[in-house]
């Protein structure tokens, strides 16, 4: 090695190390003290109560939920998607890499919606609150999870009985729960059904808009590993089939939608999960169970 090469190498090393010192000074200290959280809590409390706040830095979730009541509702913690939310807010680290604290989670929830408009941002020290508008999001008319009493469930052997938020069926069990689908919490009807059976969920006299939107996923990650069987989903409006889907767990939180005619209609959804058990080295067995996670909403959306 020549002296010139050595000098150059030392310079490169010194430059890299100097950058590391600067990065270390930024990285190796906590930014979020009680003051920062209190400031954020005040800012969130001032928002309209019907507008949802999302966390744009998902890994902050536990601390954010600890300090900020506005981030605790299911609509914030486990939203189905961004449909039906004409205005919403995103709280994130001011240093977030993506503009507007827009996370990959929010991107996934956006689905086929166009990118929302960023109306403004409020500086909260190490945190920043962004305000978004989504004119194409439509209006939510009804949510099957919000009114479980309005649902009628039955399996192949008869109707299911609702008690304390749980429907007991002869061939399965359905609860209103929050399940992990693709490592994210999703609020849904958690459905455990015997192999090869079909569950029918009906909601008579439902106010429909222009579209029925829903999602189906499977929980949890361990059961997904051991069972890839698809599920069959059929959607009927006034006993007329409007959609039929075959969905698998590799699709994650799989979205489905069917256009509807505005007005009052009877809606029925038939789900056949085929298999709920697990394949292991010993073969197929009923345990551990893979639960289906289903949600459905009626929305009124303008044509895009």
């Amino acid at each position: 090695m020549t002296p010139r090469q050595a000098s150059a190498a030392l310079l490169v090393l010194a430059a890299v190390a100097a950058v590391e010192w600067v990065c270390a000074a930024r990285a190796y200290r906590a930014q979020l003290g009680p003051d920062a959280w209190a400031r954020a809590a005040d800012a969130l409390a001032a928002l309209p109560p019907d507008e949802t706040v999302f966390l744009g830095t998902p890994w902050l979730g536990p601390s954010a939920r600890q300090h900020l009541p506005a981030l605790r509702p299911w609509s914030s913690v486990a939203p189905p998607d961004l449909h039906g939310l004409p205005r919403f807010h995103v709280l994130g680290l001011a240093s977030a890499a993506r503009a507007g604290a827009w996370s990959t989670e929010l991107e996934a929830d956006l689905g086929e919606l166009p990118a929302p408009s960023l109306l403004g941002a409020k500086d909260l020290g190490p945190l920043r609150l962004y305000h978004y508008e989504q004119p194409s999001a439509g209006t939510l008319l009804s949510d099957w999870l919000a009114e479980p009493d309005a649902l009628r469930l039955r399996d192949d052997r008869g109707p299911c009985r609702l008690s304390s938020g749980t429907w007991s069926c002869k061939q399965g069990r359905v609860t209103l729960n929050t399940l992990e689908v693709s490592y994210r919490p999703r609020r849904c009807l958690a459905i455990d059904l015997d192999d090869g059976r079909t569950l029918e969920i009906s909601r008579p006299r439902t106010a429909l808009g222009t579209v029925l939107r829903g999602h189906l996923g499977f929980a949890d990650f361990n059961a997904r590993l051991r069972n890839d069987a698809p599920a069959l989903l059929e959607l009927l409006v006034d006993e007329v089939p409007v959609g039929r889907w075959t969905l698998t767990d590799s699709q994650g939180w799989a979205a489905f939608a069917a256009p509807t005619t505005p007005g009052t209609h009877d809606v029925r959804l038939r789900l056949t999960t085929l298999l709920g058990g697990s394949w292991t080295e010993q073969g197929y067995g009923p345990q551990p169970r893979r639960s289906a996670c289903l949600e459905l909403r009626a929305l009124s959306e303008a044509h895009r």
Binding site: M1, T2, P3, R4, Q5, A6, S7, A9, L10, V12, L13, A14, V16, A17, A18, V19, E20, W21, C23, A24, R26, A27, Y28, R29, A30, Q31, L32, T57, W59, L60, G61, P62, S63, R65, Q66, P69, R72, V77, L93, S95, A96, A97, T104, N177, T178, L179, E180, Y183, R184, P185, A219, D220, F221, N222, L225
Partner: protein, 622 residues
Amino acid sequence: MTRRARLLVAAALGLAVTLLLSLGHRRVGYVRDEGIYFVASRSHAAWAARLLQTPAEALAAPARDRAFAVNREHPALMKIAAGVSARLLAEPGPAPAAGQERAEAGLLPLMPEGAAMRLPAQLLAGLAVALLFLAGAGLAGPPAPRDRKRAPAPKDRQHVPEASPGPGQGPVPEASPGPSPLLAGLCAALWFIALPHVWFHAGLHAFDVPVAAATLAVVLIYRRALGDRRWALALGPALGVAISIKHNALFIPVLLALHYGLCLLLARRRPTAGQWLPLPFLAMAVLAPLTVVALWPWLWSDPLGRLLEYVEFHRFHAYYNTEFLGINYNRPPLPASYPLVLTWATVPSGALLLALLGLALGLRRDLRPAPVSKDSPSEHVSKDSPSGHAPKASPFEHAPRASPRWSAPLAGRDRRDGLLWALFAAFPLALIALPTIPIFGGTKHWLTAYPFLALAAASAWVALARAVRRAHGRWRHAPALVLALVLVPGLWSTIDGHPYGLSQYAPLLGGPRGAADLGLLRGFWGHAVPPALLDPTRPGAPIYLHDLHELARLQYQREGRWSPGSAPSPLGRARSALLFHERHMRTHELQIWSAQGTVAPAEVLTLDDVPLTSWYGAPGPR
């Protein structure tokens, strides 16, 4: 720097590291695996005590098997040492409640039982640091003279090895002092220990840093063994001790054989008869297995069957879950980039660059076949040498050059240190990158590479220091300054991350926040316990422990650090619940939300804002 001074500094560094680990790691929670190691250590040590009292009974197969059946998927050596350490140094636990165990007092009660059991591993970490200092200092110049003795003057310069100036560099004027051995030694030692993941693992009653230390020791002995019969004989037992720490060491002889073969091949001359059957390898083949069996009483009955059972366990190891770049992996293959990216993500880039430079310079030098001198058939002449006759001797070379023979198969030959370090630095990462390797997750599985990266870094620093010193007076202090610049980020990272170093990441990545953004794992051992939980005076209530292993909790209880009322409980009956954040644990978090009726934890343990552990339903701070 005299040899004695080097030894003194090495010993001081080793002891300082051991002391800091011993004190500092009392804040590090007990990791999942330690729970069973604690249990096994007590069982093994009880057997050792019985061996002293009633040898005949202890040596009987049933007693042996009872003592060593527990946790037989790992050799017993570290656990025996830990158990003995506890019997010597453990403080007694408080008076136990009915049905509870308490730590028993050792002969000289100085520390909690868990800390005492961690001590042998911490001593080995100190040993690694001392060895790295000595080896690093040795790179900086000629062998240190023995105090008050002059080094023997060579009679024939052509046949006496000189300390090589280091890989890839030219001659140094004799009058000018070489790079500081102290700094070179510190470079190697600190490069290794001042890394947050190394520091974290170095203090645990576990095997990852101990086997890294043992691997380093074996390799350094091997270097000596290539030219010295006594070291050749020591190599076998040393390898046996390394294998008795953890199975990673089983790969050592393979890599040493590869290195030896390449040395013979690159020497471009027909090996002598003695070189075909060298003593170091004979010693490893014969003495290492005997040492392993001697140090692992479980193998004394049905050694072959039990050895096969041990190998099978590790060949078909269960897959763990690990998060890498936002994806949870739980069945092979992991991306081949996994160990490389995680190494970059956890080792500061300046230090890594220095090590890579050292490897490159070493390989450039060592992979060049030796030219054969017509004048001197027994020697080769370095092309690098401007005088044309300086042999490419290792900087560690001590003995007068001699002809290779079976007891010293590379005596007088180039031992190609750069190649040796490159093999041992690259192999652990390459192994984990193989698509068929079970998914373990975490950096601990290739920590055995780091001592050799540290030596490569030190050799690069020495090479740079020598080169710039020849040219510019004003650059004289630049190498020392750059060394400080390069080593501080690791030290900073280690201090900032303690006691949660497993969750720490390098500055260029953005530390823990940057790693969380990228979706890199935050931990996997259930050790980051909120300090308030370890306050025994806190009023207890049934608690769901999640990934805190029950045996680790029992260790806290034995030491009086666990509130008697905080009995472990299923989630449905628990008043509070712990959650250690990992991607695949999301289901558990949702179950806790449901059981506790809230999505808001009462307490969140963080490292630089990144949540490591949530405590739901925790009583408020006292």
